[in-house]
Amino acid sequence: MGRPGFVLDVDERTPPLLMHEGEGFRLERLPMGSRVIYPPDSLPGIVNLEAAIRHALVHPHGSDPLQQLLRRGMRLTIVFDDLSLPLPPMRTPDVRQRVIEQVLEMAAAAGVDDVELIAANSLHRRMTPAELKRTVGERVFRAFHPGALRNHDAEDPDNLAHLGTTPHGEDVEINRRAAESDLVVYVNITLTAMNGGSKSVAVGLASYASLRHHHNVHTLRHSRSFNDPPNSAMHQSYDRMADLIGGHVPVFTIETTLNNSTFPTALRFLTRREWEWNLTDQAGYLAVKRSNDLATSKLRHRIWQSTEAPYGVTGVHAGAPSEVHPHTLAAVHRQQLTEVDGQADVAVFGLPYICPYNVNSIMNPILVMSLGLGYFFNLYRGKPIVRQGGVAIFYHPMPPEFHPVHHPSYIDFYELLAETTDPVMLETKYEKQFATDPWYIHLYRTSYAYHGVHPFYMWYWGAHAMQHLGDVIFVGGDRSTTARLGFRAASSLADALELASGTVGRDPQISYLHAPPMVLADVR
């Protein structure tokens, strides 16, 4: 059994600590008395995954076994999480492939002919055929692509079905094929507590008309945090929508959870506690750090993007979504939850090279903001890691780089930030324009572009943090880029703390969230 997560008090014995900073990392000496929130050790993965998947399908929660739900002549749609999960992409075979193969074995045995597979990419960019093949495996890809293995298209009016409105007046519009199926089987990877559950179908197969009800500034500001579903307005909206969807089409969900084996063996020092680094780890750190620093940015990018995580699967649960998800969340908490006493004046985060929206792509400044003020800031349960009015210090170079194919609307959104960085203003004035822009829609549907509205959602993702924090500083951040985003840049931690002293004084309590691997701070 691995060790639980814990909070380190930095003392004179503490060696410099590892800090991610985009496509790089460094060692940083934190001031004495700083606290460092470490995730639990990586849990062992399930040894016989095939048997675990089969057991989950045969003994589901709140549902009949899957075999009993399958029958000849039925319309079966298998939906799976897209390439935004997990991070980094897991070493093949992907767990989705292994689940889908067993579902298809059962469907074949039951004589089901009408089967389609849909990637639940929502307003994300479409997955390329190679990415689809990597996710579902060669055998499934060959059998179903392209006709019956495809991406969800949230802008195809003929393939969307409006199922009604929730009691809160929220439109529920999802993929027609799924809505008109006799059974939807959803294959999920729950990497963080925000994933899975009601979110899967209600978001993954939805259209803009539906998503705008929860992907907005008001909801995000009342999702505290969005990694704590019971206290997340966003998840409450998902639940209402999922209830409505459940009244139209039966959903059998299979949720999987992963351990914290985030990096391959060559990078194992990234996942070990620094005082436990042996000479191999130190040599590895030095070799990788120097090579990484000396590499061209193109080569560096390629190497990081080709990194595959040797994840182990810690849990497979299947059945009715509402019955399954509590088990899934418990498994996520076992792997990621660390108790923290009290909030800090300053929170420090080292932002890695990857987020859900730059897989095989570029982490542009808006995605950096979303990763830092959205995902990392919200890695808490109870209270934020940093107090109201405190300061967040992020490590990321934040180069002003964009992927022209994947993120065209982000480039235009970045220009808007010169006018205002206020999420409400941006939402009110520009969201609809970007969301309905025919060119962005065309690129989303026919190319590999994120939807026109997607950069707005990323900005809203940080709305709660922006409202909560007194200052945001990026160590090593490009000065003009950080200024454009409304933040400040510092060349070192000492400089950042100097800048922060105007907000939190000269002797602040500092907490550093040591991630990745994933850690969810349970702040008491």
Binding site: D9, D11, R13, T14, E274, W275, L279, L286, K289, R290
Partner: protein, 312 residues
Amino acid sequence: MSSLREELRLLRHGRDWRGRARVPRSARRWALPDDGDGFPTEWARTAAAGVLRSALQRGVLKPVTWSQTRPVVHGREYLESVRGPAIFIANHSSHLDTPLILGALPPRITENLAVGAAADYFYDSRALAAVTTLLFNTFPVDRRAPRRSRSLAADLVDEGWSLLLYPEGGRSVEGLLTGFKLGAAQLCAKKRVPAVPIALRGTFAAMPRGRRWPLPGRPRVTVRIGRPLCIRPDEGVPDFRTRLVRAVATLWAEDDLGWYGALRAAADDSLALPSGVSGVLPTTVAGQPAEGRDMAPWRRIWEASRPPANDS
């Protein structure tokens, strides 16, 4: 981009010459067990290794130790009654302690003596483990989860080896006497072998933590060997441990109070005895018992680093 020198400086910061960092205090509870499990030590207990070790100890180790310090050894006569395995227990505040004890004990005992060594320190690198094992006939002791190493210690006693153990669990940070762990007393009780208390004074002053060689000027050190103690039939292990602590504290106090004065202080129960990890000075120079934990940190180190009296 930072320079290689800067990277190395950061990487080396807080690490010793073997690249090991000390476990931060708040992380101790979750420290990984490091029991030197993978390093075999049986070879060091063969006859050939014993011959080589005796030559090294008598030809190199003792002459070097005695040339760099001025050891005064008391109580060798108590060892005449020791026949067969015994557990030698001593206070520990310096890497000088083991060479001094090995030099102070008669060859008939050292030739049959194995030394418990911290697995997380001496068995972290194979080169260091090999040298230590050969020179001192050490075996790994896991200081945090001692079950496995305790069984190795028991096996060694079964094989007829005497053991030298430091029941404080490591070198004292401030040079004071700290509480004894139960392991040594338990071993004596389980194997029905005597414990021989030893007190070392002056080694903290001569070569404290962080130094790799004694201070210049041949600092004076004393090695006081006490009477062997056996657990009584009606005595519990914790009580026996207390008796061992008291025996070492009494020997420690001899430098300040003299032999009889220390005996009187022990009989009057006026020696300060340690409990747990906080250290105490069994006596002060003036003969007044003083709890180290009530003293300012600088005073604790000041007193502990005071050289033993010349006339003792």
